[in-house]
């Protein structure tokens, strides 16, 4: 295939992070931990599956002897129809036993494997769910998803088939060798020259091939990342007419994928011929040496035939052992990533004797609170503040001034580095997390809509709310009318990135959600996204309903909410620089005054 020469710059226009091809050293401790998930089934599914596997394996081992040594050498040679009948019937019975055992083997092995996968995934999800904010801050949603879904799935094969097949193959392999030795030690030794070759192919060549395929997967991952991005950014690409340049980039990635694949497939194609050739070598030895043994009279035709059959069966377990080994290595890589998550400790931990507060009044105090996200930069530098029960407090300041951090400390998403946060006069660390968070509700800037109906989305605030309660909450925040105008009203299906709802409507939904939760303390991160004026009016009205009767902390952007609040804290670089109400602060003509003025100065410069 001929390809056009392209500009080097274009080939470097996108960067995607990719993993390296590496084999982890085998970690026994980790493997034991992984197989520990089989423990709950050690008294039922596990031994039952193993029993079934052993039955089928024994039948497979017995058949060649019955055919070779008994049928050919005894019944047929001695022309004994009676014996032939008995043999045929017993072979038939063995097959039936194997048939029944097989049914249960497949059933129980799958049940075992899926139960382990189910447990593991549940364990991981539950654990992740309870981890603190900091954990989620450091990772993209995609990378967490991959561990819960793909990494666990890649263990599926290992637990369903791999582990038990390992046993079956070992039994089969040892069984064949023992039987062969009993039948004819000298012929066995001669035939077994192929064993080391097979092991070599199965381990060394396979390793080589595995690496080649890993490379293919990496290239494909890169290709997919770019595809995904190019589809999502297509409007930008077309606006800037970069279609041709992107095609050149894609061609480069596509070509790399093609080449890696070609090489992998070249290596892969060598595998089967080499295996078969090795097997053929064994058969040739069998024919040559076996024939001479028969000539000597030390070997019967039946044994010769049994040998041929066993030799045919030989490759399968060795090949599968190689496969299981591959699975184990991949399983090790996956389980390492899974255990990394499981070993994460929730940073915000509940005390054993935590106080369960049924009804907060919502009185909040910060005493000399210092906080740092990463030990390098200090987000809060000794904050002292008080918010009285039922007050509406606005936090104002530049991006990075510490507004959100204060809010995060109140709901105890993080713990203060030093100093104390008190609610109702009690150190927040002494209050049980559930009772605390059940009474605090945060309305975020980016309202997240879960896929499901509108009804379900509002009910998320309090899962046991009735339909009527949901609707009256929607009504109270002024969301009822737009919901009723949707095709299916409250039963309209919405999804995360669906376009059915505008930004403003999403905001109203999340207000309804919070109103339904009826928290004692409400934290509101006001949205800055563009909302048309009509909707904004609605939101302002809804806010009044929402704020009534609770302590509210608002990270404020809209002047209307700031103006109406009881207290305003102006923050700068983690410190409170001004506090008071709107009029007091305007009088002061300080930072607050400048911030407010700036909003209306826009364009007046021209």
């Amino acid at each position: 295939m001929k390809r056009k020469k392209v500009n080097e710059n274009v080939l470097k226009r996108f960067h995607y992070s990719t993993d390296q091809v590496i084999d982890k050293p085998f970690n026994w401790h980790q493997m034991l931990r992984l197989f520990g998930y089989m423990k709950p089934y050690r008294k039922n599914l596990l031994p039952l599956s193993i029993a079934m596997v052993i039955i089928t394996t024994l039948v497979r081992l017995a058949i060649p002897i019955l055919i070779g040594v008994y049928t050919l050498d005894k019944a047929i040679k001695q022309k004994d129809m009676g014996l032939l009948t008995i043999l045929v019937i017993s072979i038939g019975l063995l097959y039936t036993a194997s048939y029944i055992a097989n049914i249960f083997r497949i059933k129980w092995m799958n049940e075992l494997g899926q139960s382990v996968i189910y447990d593991l995934r549940k364990h991981l999800f539950t654990h992740v769910q309870n981890l603190s904010h900091r954990f989620f801050d450091q990772r993209s949603a995609g990378s967490i998803l991959v561990r819960i879904m793909n990494d666990i799935n890649s263990l599926q094969e290992l637990f369903t088939n791999g582990a038990i097949n390992l046993l079956m193959d070992l039994v089969l392999l040892v069984g064949i060798i023992i039987i062969l030795f009993t039948l004819s030690p000298s012929l066995t030794l001669a035939v077994l020259v192929i064993l080391p070759i097979m092991f070599f192919i199965s381990t060394s060549l396979r390793k080589n091939i595995r690496r080649a395929w890993q490379l293919v997967r990496l290239k494909q991952a890169k290709l997919n990342s770019h595809l995904n991005e190019s589809i999502q950014g297509i409007r930008v690409t077309q606006s800037f007419t970069q279609e041709k340049e992107n095609m050149a980039f894609f061609d480069g990635v596509n070509w790399e994928t093609y080449e890696s694949w070609r090489i992998a497939s070249q290596k892969n194609a060598m595998f089967r011929p080499l295996v078969e050739l090795t097997n053929a070598l064994g058969t040739a030895v069998l024919i040559w040496f076996g024939a001479s043994l028969i000539q000597d009279g030390t070997l019967t035709i039946g044994i010769f035939v049994s040998f041929a059959f066993y030799l045919g069966m030989f490759w399968e377990p060795i090949s599968r052992l190689g496969q299981v080994y591959n699975q184990l290595l991949m399983g090790m890589a996956s389980s390492e990533r899974i255990f990394e998550f499981l070993d994460e400790k929730p940073l915000v931990a509940e005390k054993d004797d935590a106080i369960h507060l049924n009804e907060l009044t919502g009185h909040i105090q910060f005493e000399e609170v210092v906080f740092s996200y990463d030990d390098k930069r200090t987000a809060l530098k000794g904050i002292n503040l008080e918010m009285k029960s039922g007050e509406t407090v606005a936090l104002v300041g530049h991006t990075g001034s510490g507004k959100t951090t204060i809010a995060n400390l109140v709901s105890r998403f993080y713990d203060a580095t030093s100093g104390t946060v008190k609610i109702d006069g009690i150190d927040i660390k002494d209050i049980s997390l559930t009772s605390l968070r059940n009474q605090i509700s945060v309305v975020l800037q980016d309202t997240f809509i879960f896929s499901g109906t509108i009804m379900e989305n509002i009910r998320f605030g309090r899962p046991d709310a009735t339909d009527e309660e949901v609707m009256s909450a929607a009504e109270a925040v002024g969301a009822h009318s737009f919901i009723e105008n949707l095709p299916n009203g409250y039963l309209t299906e919405v999804e995360e990135r669906g376009n059915i709802l505008s930004v403003g409507e999403r905001q109203l939904l999340s207000f309804a959600r919070s109103l339904l939760a009826d928290p004692r303390i409400l934290i509101l991160d006001e949205a800055t996204a563009s909302i048309d004026t009509e909707t904004e009016l609605k939101i302002q009205q809804a806010l009044k309903t929402l704020l009534k009767g609770r302590t509210s902390i608002i990270i404020a952007h809209r002047l209307s909410t700031i103006r109406d609040s009881d207290k305003i804290f102006v923050l700068d670089h983690g410190q409170i620089i001004e506090k008071g109400n709107h009029h007091e602060l305007m009088e002061l003509q300080g930072e607050y005054y400048h911030l407010v003025k700036a909003q209306y100065q826009v364009f007046s410069a021209s």
Binding site: R235, S265, V442, T528, A605
Partner: protein, 584 residues
């Protein structure tokens, strides 16, 4: 077959690999059947016939034959793979090219996930069939055919008795295939649901935690997780029901082979070696039949995949360069709309109706109106992202469809509502529209967009690589890079679609100050909800339901008793609070 015919241009150029692959496959299959025959000759002629002198020839002949088979297998497999992956390379490039040029209208209804699965899973399904499926089908037929021939050659009656089970096997295979595929689809669907569940949970983890709904979410997850397990187990029970049965039927053949074959040997009508050969040959027929369902299913899946690929490939570009498209290097930026009507779908209502206005070079046009009133649609007609059903759009006195798309779009700078940045360096993101821009040009654009300072504070400066979807930057920072990107191409027409939506007050002020500088000398369209953003525009168009309901400058509109005045009053209410303080 039509699907395969239409996709011919993609695989036909490499068909020689296919033919070579098939040729060697025949050889491989023929040699496979030789193995039991050699076993038979060894037993019947060498051992029983006492022709021990044949042994060396037999053994070495066997090795040679197997060596030939090895080489043939290699070529068969490698060339088969090449046929598939070369086709994939070509197919992917064409698909990608198609995607680059499909119009906005297409993407309005397309889902990224669906497109991705076409470009990955469907391409893979098609490849698998090309590389493996056709060859496997041929191999099965040939293997069954030759095995039958050899068996008939040895003993017709034994063949018939032994293979009397075949019709039953065929029925079981057929039933299995019918039952197992819907079950597999069930697994995939359930996995998809579980995936969506987890993905949503993680993306919305802040919402979950802020309402402390972890337990609730764990409960919902357990349901999905349990459903996946159940679906998997019900599939494996189908497997447990049929697969051992298929093997059992094959084993029954062996039993009848042993009883009738043993009888024949005892009565001297069959050689022992022939009996042994039969034992191998039987499985050469049974396993292919068990696999046949799999191969046929692969064929129908490849066909379905091919159809989904064709859907993308045959999608019309709709908007493309006219025959004599103008290659204008630099436009001046005189814009005129003449009775323009736009409709997104045949039967949907008008997105824009009868829009007429003129914008002279260097002037600023403000667009205001509620969500869905047509502000964005109007600007997208300039770049021909959509085409009007009625009326004309002129730039510099010529209809926009007279220009080549490239010369048109490279003169228009767009800052879109959602600032999408690519996984690349900041430098490459700014110069996205002009890959050969010099470092000075890039820095200049960044400075004008008020982005230079924060870029320089990043550890790698302009070489900082932004993560997928530009993670690591705040909304305001992303927006400023997007503005720099638009400025970098030095457009004659600049469109700012809600360019300051994701930033806080202070940043908005900064950006707007920057924009004043940027807009100089360019015809600019500003879409905004805040009157403060566009009150200095040379003309403001107020849109409602796709129509211009008011137009004029701020001073006129504010007294016009219309929508503009209403919006102004709502927003002014805020301002009045500080005005007295300012003056007093």
């Amino acid at each position: 077959m039509n699907t395969f015919k239409k996709l011919k241009p993609f695989y036909w150029p490499y068909v020689k690999y296919f033919f070579w692959s098939i040729g060697f496959l025949m050889l491989v299959t023929a040699i496979t059947v030789v193995y039991p025959m050699i076993l038979q000759v060894t037993i019947d002629d060498v051992v029983l016939g006492k022709k021990y002198s044949w042994v060396p020839y037999l053994a070495s002949g066997f090795i040679v034959l197997m060596a030939i088979k090895g080489v043939a297998t290699y070529i068969n497999q490698y060339y088969g793979d090449l046929f598939g992956i070369k086709t994939v390379y070509r197919l992917r490039n064409s698909l990608y090219e198609k995607l680059q040029f499909l119009p906005f209208r297409y993407y309005d209804n397309a889902k990224t996930g669906d497109l991705m699965s076409r470009l990955t899973a469907d391409v893979e399904g098609f490849r698998f069939f090309l590389s493996f499926g056709i060859a496997e089908l041929i191999r099965l037929v040939v293997l069954i055919g030759i095995s039958f021939a050899v068996m008939f050659y040895y003993s017709i009656s034994l063949t018939l008795v032994t293979l009397a089970t075949l019709p039953f096997l065929a029925i079981v295979v057929y039933k299995f295939e019918k039952a197992v595929h819907p079950a597999f689809r069930g697994i995939r669907k359930s996995f998809g649901k579980l995936n969506t569940k987890v993905q949503e949970n993680i993306s919305g983890i802040n919402t979950v935690k802020s309402l402390s709904r972890e337990e609730f979410e764990i409960g919902k997850f357990n349901d999905s997780n349990g459903d996946y397990k159940d679906k998997y187990l019900s599939t494996s029970s189908i497997w447990a029901k049929f697969f051992p049965l298929m093997e059992f039927i094959g084993n029954l053949s062996v039993v009848s082979l042993l009883s009738y074959g043993g009888y024949l040997v005892i009565h001297g009508q069959l050689q022992p070696g022939e009996l042994v050969a039969f034992y191998s040959l039987v499985w050469y027929i049974i396993w292919p039949i068990v696999n046949l369902g799999f191969v046929i299913n692969m064929f129908s899946q490849a066909k379905a995949s091919g159809e989904r690929l064709l859907e993308v490939l045959e999608e019309e570009k709709e908007i493309s360069d006219g025959e004599y498209s103008l290659q204008s290097e630099k436009l001046r930026g005189e814009v005129e709309f003449n009775n323009v009507t736009l409709r997104y779908d045949e039967d949907s209502k008008d997105a824009l109706y009868n829009i007429s206005f003129k914008a002279h070079q260097g002037k600023v046009i403000g667009l205001i109106g509620s969500t869905g009133s047509g502000k964005t649609s109007l600007t997208q007609l300039l770049t021909r992202f959509y085409e009007p059903v009625n009326g004309e759009v002129f730039i510099d006195g010529r209809n926009v469809d007279e220009y080549s798309l490239h010369s048109l779009r490279s003169n228009i700078g767009f800052v879109l509502q959602e600032s999408f940045l690519f996984s690349s360096t900041i430098k490459a993101n700014i110069s996205y529209g002009k890959p050969d821009a010099s470092m000075e040009e890039i820095i200049d654009a960044a400075k004008r967009a008020q982005a230079h300072d924060f870029i320089m504070e990043l550890p790698e400066g302009y070489e900082t690589i932004l993560g997928e979807r530009g993670m690591g930057l705040s909304g305001g920072q992303k927006q400023r890079i997007a503005i720099a990107r638009a400025i970098c191409v030095d457009p004659s027409i600049l469109i700012l679609d809600d360019a300051t939506s994701a930033v806080d007050m202070e940043t908005e002020f900064k950006i707007q100050k920057a924009l004043i500088e940027v807009m100089k000398g360019r015809t600019t369209f500003i879409i905004a909800h805040r009157i403060s953003s566009l009150k200095h525009a040379d003309e403001i168009l107020v849109l409602e339901n796709g129509r211009i309901v008011e137009r004029g400058v701020h001073a006129q509109l504010v007294k016009n008793q219309g929508l503009y005045q209403r919006i102004f009053e709502i927003q002014y209410k805020d301002q009045s609070v500080i005005v007295p303080t300012q003056t007093g």
